[in-house]
């Protein structure tokens, strides 16, 4: 035991000696959570809309003013002919063109019907859908005002909505749990896999192997410091997201911390597993970074909701541990539910740990080739 403590001390010294890595270890999570809490957002804001107004009457002016005053759109160019649409949409600023047909106002009064056409830039489908939806809603709203009392009869069913869990509709509720998950898995898996392969590559692993320390003690001793440091990271991130973004912790804090420890453990064992496969640091880095970063970002429900994906991806993402941890954090922090709601996900994480460690033990070579 004493020997083991000595070894852990040595590992801590290794980490603290490298001041730059230490800064990165604590600086990166903080900076990233701040950056993404503020920057990454799917809301429609300041999208530029241009107008092709072939009618130029009071009604069309009112509608276009209403669109621009909504806060979602900024006014782009005023176009003169259909040919201009192609020109502005091909450029990079305008996201949609609103076309009012000729004699729009007159037709609306005399025939009771007039057409607004929205031409949106489909090369960004998400933007295009949001833009057309919002503009349609604004026009419909105007239509209702215009119709006045006659239309109030049309409002027979009046739905009221309550946005549960996130009444102020903050984007951070979606992104912050994802960022925590991403950062933890990358830091833990990357750090451990590098630190172990480093010993292999430099040949110092031999020195350790001939020492009286048992192989499992070596691995444990390597992982323990990172476990503690990552846990401090989690706490920093939680404090930041609480103070800066007002992200609540509605459920039990103890449960949240316990689950985080479990997740860190899982990421660390993944790192160990990678290190048993990789022959040198470069390979370890390549696997953990290139192989894990994109799938974690894209397939775990971090940015793109899993529900939207084709069915097979349910199976693919089932193999990715971050997916379960995101569910766990969202449940505990935002929904405020207890362990009963996340026991399945917790069990799966435990399973991942068991498999990763089992495979690592099987793969771990005490002798050098």
């Amino acid at each position: 035991m004493k020997r083991f403590i000595g070894f852990v001390k040595k590992e801590f010294l290794h980490i603290f000696r490298d001041f730059r890595t230490l800064i990165i270890l604590f600086g990166i999570p903080g900076v990233q959570i701040l950056l993404f809490g503020f920057v990454v957002s799917n809301d429609l804001k300041n999208a530029q809309v241009s107008f092709l107004d072939l009618s130029k009457d009071e009604t069309t002016r009112k509608i276009s003013d209403k669109i621009c005053a909504s806060g979602f759109f900024t006014r782009g160019k005023d176009l003169l002919s259909y040919n201009d649409i192609e020109k502005v949409l091909r450029g990079k600023a305008t996201k949609a063109v609103v076309v009012f047909e000729k004699d729009f106002g007159k037709k609306l009064i005399s025939q009771g019907r007039a057409v607004v056409n929205i031409v949106a830039d489909g090369s960004e489908p998400n933007m295009a859908t949001l833009t057309t939806n919002y503009i349609t809603a604004i026009v419909t709203d105007y239509n209702r005002e215009l119709a006045g009392p006659a239309a109030s009869g049309a409002l027979l069913v009046q739905p009221e909505v309550r946005m549960v869990y996130n009444p102020s509709l903050k984007g951070q509720f979606m992104f912050v749990p994802g960022v925590i998950t991403l950062i933890m898995i990358l830091i833990c898996a990357l750090m451990t896999s590098i630190t172990i392969t480093r010993e292999k590559e430099f040949g110092t692993m031999e020195v350790l192997l001939v020492s009286p320390l048992k192989p499992y003690q070596i691995i444990l001793g390597k992982v323990l410091p990172y476990f503690i440091l990552s846990f401090i990271d989690v706490i920093i991130i939680l404090i930041l997201s609480w103070f800066v973004f007002g992200l609540p912790i509605r459920g039990s804090l103890v449960l949240l911390l316990a689950e985080s420890m479990l997740y860190i453990l899982m990421s660390l064992s993944l790192g160990i597993l990678i290190s048993t496969f990789a022959k040198n640091m470069q390979q370890a880095i390549f696997i953990s970074l290139v192989g894990m970063m994109l799938p974690t970002v894209l397939l775990s429900g971090f940015i793109i909701p899993l529900e939207n994906m084709p069915k097979i991806y349910d199976w693919v993402s089932a193999l990715l541990p971050p997916r379960y941890f995101i569910v766990i954090i969202k449940n505990i922090m935002i929904k405020g539910t207890g362990f009963l709601y996340v026991w399945k996900e917790t069990l799966i994480l435990v399973l991942f740990i068991v498999v990763a460690i089992g495979l690592s033990i099987k793969n771990f070579k005490i002798r050098l080739e």
Binding site: K92, P125, G153, V157, L190, L289
Partner: protein, 372 residues
């Protein structure tokens, strides 16, 4: 010139000597592209509803069947207890609860307005808002039906109607694959260049082989160029393969000039490689480099507008993006491939990329010291 060629040869031998890296360079990007591109979609389907019908009238049933008929909604559960509905939402089994109060049908029959309670899971705020908008659409239709039934068709047509139609250009069916493919392609090329090139230089430092180069008459710029060229070529090959796969498997349209695309990608790669080599001069171990690289890569990618619209970012973030090469290349890739934009449409982006690329390369050459 000959010196550079020899150095480049040396680099290639070094890269491909490691069999794993040799395979990974081409294998990982392609597998990832095939898996990731179809996954990304923000299109909302199957919003799972939980209905609490306390009225059980003809009218409420009609509303429910109208919801069932819509492509966006799927009725996941019907219950009479609010508690159970809340419980289902807590468990993540439903996205929206629609509660029809008792007296709903009676009110409508008497021509009064009836209320309807909706609760949406808003953790994903955008999805919640869109689902709410769709729901409103269904209810609007439902209302019109009732008016038509009560008062005849004339009453409806008396109200002036502004009809809103829409069309999507460049991607009429809003195929998300066409949107994601250029983006994922850019990211993969970035990752390969950024990770491998930087690590390559730091590895020489860490192992000490850089000293052997330092004592030769090889010039600083020659050394940096020789480090860049192999990865530039690998990146371009990756991109070619990616584009081919995109064409064959995802039927990606190539509206614009492919040569222009390659030109822009090359400038982009030079910028990325220059930055990677510049960063690597600050690190003495691969571990350090990896963490700095990881930090910049995530910042570059998430700020580039590949997943979320640039316009939604705050003004200061858009200012930072001026030096983010990924933001330019994402826009260029999409504009050239989907919109068929020509050189004059993207000239300002190209100038910016050229400036960034030369600046980073200059910095890399300048920061590299031949002394130990």
């Amino acid at each position: 010139m000959r010196t550079i060629l020899y150095l480049i040869r040396k680099e290639f031998i070094q890269i491909f000597r490691d069999k794993f890296i040799g395979k990974a360079i081409f294998g990982i990007p392609i597998i990832q592209m095939l898996i990731l591109v179809p996954a990304v979609t923000f299109e909302i389907r199957n919003v799972r509803l939980c209905i609490v019908d306390k009225d059980l009238s003809v009218e409420s049933r009609q509303l429910i069947s109208q919801l069932e008929g819509s492509t966006f909604f799927r009725i996941k559960a019907s219950t009479f207890s609010e508690e159970e509905a809340n419980h289902l939402m807590d468990k993540g089994k439903s996205d929206m609860i629609i509660q029809i109060p008792s007296g709903f049908g009676k009110d409508l029959g008497l021509g009064r307005s009836a209320s309807l309670m909706v609760m949406a899971n808003a953790i994903n705020a955008v999805n919640a808002q869109l689902s709410w908008a769709y729901l409103n659409g269904v209810i609007r239709d439902y209302n019109l039906n009732i008016i038509a039934k009560n008062a005849g068709v004339a009453a409806v047509s008396g109200i002036p109607q502004i009809q809103v139609t829409n069309r999507y250009w460049y991607n009429e069916l809003l195929n998300y694959k066409f949107y994601m493919l250029p983006g994922v392609l850019g990211i993969l090329v970035l990752a390969i260049g950024f990770v491998l090139a930087g690590l390559n230089l730091v590895k020489e430092k860490e192992i000490g082989t850089i000293e052997q180069i330092n004592v030769t008459p090889v010039k600083k710029y020659q050394f940096i160029i020789a480090k860049m060229v192999p990865f530039l070529l690998i990146g371009l090959v990756d991109m070619t393969v990616g584009l081919l796969f995109g064409k064959l498997i995802f039927h990606m349209p190539f509206e614009g000039n492919i040569a222009l695309l390659f030109l822009c990608s090359s400038i982009f790669l030079v910028a990325v490689l220059g930055f990677a080599l510049f960063l690597s001069t600050f690190s003495s171990t691969q571990q350090q480099y990896m963490f700095t690289a990881f930090f910049f890569m995530i910042v570059f990618i998430l700020m580039s507008g590949v997943f979320t619209p640039l316009d939604s970012m705050p003004a200061w973030a858009q200012k930072i993006n001026v030096v983010n090469p990924v933001a330019y290349v994402m826009r260029i890739n999409r504009m050239v491939l989907l919109k068929g934009s020509a050189i004059r449409d993207i000239s300002s982006d190209i100038y910016a990329l050229v400036i960034i690329a030369s600046a980073f390369t200059f910095l890399a050459v300048n920061r590299y010291r031949k002394t130990a």
